[in-house]
């Protein structure tokens, strides 16, 4: 009797029959709406990414009108065209067309007598013929509005030849920075980025993983440790320019003897102000340290406690447990976090400007105590230039940066996968 009452009461408040159908349909409707919302946000994300890539590629390739300062045909000697002339004639052309000062500079770099014919020929093309890009068109225009482009070019630049140019090519990657966009390359910036990121990793990875191990495995639940933890979490959200100020104050100014290398006997006056790769690497290291610590803690926390208990149960010490079980099992997660953090560091511009990256430098960095520039800074500087061509090489440099990023990430992912397989088998 009592049981029956309970049952009828229970069913009364749950919808039955038609009510159930209605409720059922409403639940599914809500599900469909959210499904569409989620799908739309994914699509928007993909569209934005595609637009970004289109924009970059659009600038990195395309038609260009190239005009010679001096028509090579006028340089022919006794009917022999320029590209068939021997070395002596080429040197004569240089001497006729270039200023004495410039000639002396070339002579002191390497005497003409020792230069090869190809070398001298390149000099003639570069300095006398002086081909110059007078106008560029985007990839879209070059492909789909080619006839209009050609017509406009024939009208505006009758002397120019129209060429399809790829602003990013092997030469672009291997030549140093230059004030002339046709000759400028990103070698200095790539080397600067690689050096900086190497120092960042060497500094931040061991320190970050060590701190993560300490906070997860050793630190007790004490108010001091809680404050430290809260601060680390907040530091991960501090704007990167603040880290730039910190790096400027500490590494560039306070630690100048160390960061300029004078402590190690380096006395190059051009670098002795502390604005070096060393300072930049440490600044970026500080920037990603909280990220590495937090990700490391997550990864360590994800290692099941049963493993720790099993290890302790065999008479293992804390260190043996951490080293043999916790770390190997947390490593894939730690590496994932490090990959993300390093990817962020390699694209950072603001802190490096504050720390004092050189915006224009043509000399390769020779070590941690060199002046430097990095790819993002190079891109930033090029996009700020008034000439159109710099926008094209900035697009090229962005592609190089993305490729560098992908290469670094791919190697880290390979390393991680290899390691997690080893742990599993």
């Amino acid at each position: 009797m009592a049981d029956q009452q309970v049952r009828t009461q229970g069913t009364a408040s749950l919808p039955q029959g038609e009510g159930f159908q209605e409720n059922f349909a409403a639940r599914h409707r809500a599900g469909r709406v959210w499904y569409v919302v989620f799908q739309a946000s994914t699509i928007i994300g993909i569209v934005v990414l595609t637009a970004l890539l289109y924009n970059i590629v659009n600038g990195a390739f395309g038609l260009a009108a190239i005009q010679n300062e001096v028509n090579p045909e006028t340089l022919a000697v006794e009917g022999v065209p320029l590209d068939k002339l021997d070395k002596q004639h080429l040197v004569d052309i240089l001497q006729q067309n270039l200023s004495k000062g410039l000639l002396r500079r070339f002579e002191s770099e390497q005497p003409f007598a020792e230069r090869t014919r190809e070398d001298v020929y390149d000099l003639v093309i570069e300095r006398v013929v002086e081909p110059q890009v007078v106008h560029t068109w985007s990839l879209y225009d070059s492909l789909f509005r080619r006839s209009a482009v050609l017509a406009a070019a024939a009208e505006d630049y009758p002397d120019a030849r129209i060429e399809f140019m790829s602003w990013i090519d092997p030469k672009f990657v291997t030549t140093p920075q230059s004030s002339d966009p046709e000759k400028a390359g990103v070698r200095t910036a790539i080397l600067g980025s690689l050096w900086t990121i190497a120092i960042t990793i060497v500094f931040a990875f061991p320190l970050g993983v060590g701190a993560a191990i300490y906070l997860e495995e050793y630190a007790t639940d004490h108010w001091v440790n809680r404050i430290i933890q809260t601060n680390i979490n907040n530091l991960a959200g501090v704007p990167s320019i603040i880290y730039g100020m910190l790096g400027l104050a500490i590494f560039v100014r306070a630690l100048e003897p160390l960061s300029s290398g004078t402590l190690f006997g380096l006395t190059d006056p051009t670098t002795a102000n502390g604005r070096t790769i060393f300072s930049a690497g440490l600044t970026l290291g500080l920037l990603i340290l909280p990220l590495i610590i937090i990700n490391g803690q997550e990864a360590i926390r994800a290692v099941p406690d049963s493993l720790r208990r099993a290890s302790y149960g065999l008479g293992a010490t804390k260190w043996q447990t951490v080293w043999h079980h916790v770390l190997p099992n947390a490593l894939p997660g730690i590496l994932t976090g490090t990959i993300l953090a390093v990817s962020r560091a390699i694209g950072e511009t603001a802190p490096l400007i504050v720390v004092g990256a050189s915006t224009f430098i043509t000399v390769d960095p020779s070590g941690p105590f060199s002046k430097f520039t990095t790819l993002p800074i190079q891109i930033y500087q090029w996009t700020a230039r008034p000439q159109d061509e710099f926008r094209n090489i900035a697009a090229g440099a962005i592609i190089v940066l993305l490729a560098l990023l992908l290469a670094l990430n791919a190697s880290a992912v390979l390393l991680r996968n290899r390691y997690s397989r080893r742990v599993r088998s």
């Binding site: 007790t220 639940d221 099941p304 049963s306 493993l307 720790r308 208990r309 099993a310 290890s311 302790y312 149960g313 065999l314 008479g315 293992a316 010490t317 043996q320 043999h324 079980h325 099992n329 742990v423 599993r424 088998s425």
Partner: protein
């Protein structure tokens, strides 16, 4: 006598015991912060016998078991009073290193928890970190044979321990525990996550291991306690949820002729 103190020579308290029991528990209390989980437990565990600890859920069986090799200390808030004498020495004495205690008093857990390493490495690791110098292959084979697992895994020693079935994993964990040659093996509901066949194998294995080791097993399953154990301790909790020992004696006696009314009620299924 085994030194628990990492080689440090220290005087230790004169004890009433001469170490003829595997473990003697005196006035044991375990707390988690303000909460008392185990209250005033006294009893002695015989050597090379299987002692079962039974009782209703939440009465502190596992806590008491973990008190025998100081595993409770992995919980930051846990603290212990009283004495647990292992071969005449209080394992809670100030100078005793819990690492040494666990080396002599091994443990098998409720859920099989092999390391994500090869079967061979699972067995060898404990011995290696404890400084084992001898023939590792022989030790691994002997331990796996003792755990009745050798025939099933001898052809795949270098496969992951996680590739085994649940029952095999649990026997691997037993092999791992006995590879460091402990005197006592603590088992915390070792068969509760296993099917009946695997459970039966573990029980057979426990009977065999009792010839060499002292085994203390916590179990929910009263039939299991009755089947495998020599002695049984029955725990209950009081109104503050603190566990205390109700009755301890020969398993036969406990299950056929319990002295305490509460024991009788529990084993006849009237509560718990």
């Amino acid at each position: 006598m085994i030194s628990l103190t990492n080689g440090q020579k220290r005087p230790f308290a004169t004890l009433s015991s001469n170490g003829e029991y595997a473990i003697e528990v005196q006035e044991l209390r375990v707390h988690y912060g303000d909460f008392m989980a185990i209250k005033d437990v006294n009893f002695r565990i015989e050597r090379q016998k299987i002692t079962a600890i039974i009782g209703p859920s939440g009465c502190g069986k596992s806590t008491m078991l973990r008190a025998f090799n100081r595993m409770n200390e992995l919980v930051p808030t846990a603290w212990t009073e009283g004495e647990v004498l292992f071969q005449g020495q209080n394992i809670y004495a100030e100078w005793v290193d819990p690492v040494q205690v666990r080396r002599h008093i091994g443990m098998v857990f409720q859920k099989p928890n092999p390391f994500p390493k090869s079967i061979y490495e699972n067995v060898a690791w404990g011995a290696r970190i404890n400084g084992f110098q001898g023939d590792m292959d022989a030790l691994v084979e002997r331990s796996l044979r003792q755990a009745a697992l050798w025939d099933e895994v001898k052809d795949k020693l270098y496969q992951s321990g996680l590739s085994l079935s649940g029952g095999q994993q649990q026997r691997l964990c037993i092999a791992r525990a006995i590879a460091v040659e402990p005197e006592i093996v603590l088992m915390d509901e070792p068969a509760s996550a296993l099917d009946p066949i695997a459970t039966l194998k573990i029980e057979e294995l426990m009977r065999q291991l009792a010839q060499d080791y002292t085994i203390i097993v916590v179990t929910h399953n009263m039939q299991q306690a009755a089947r495998v154990s020599d002695r049984t301790a029955f725990l209950m909790m009081d109104e503050d949820r603190a566990g205390y020992l109700v009755e301890y004696g020969l398993t036969k006696e406990i299950f056929t002729n319990p002295q305490d009314k509460r024991t009788e009620d529990y084993i006849t299924g009237r509560f718990g």
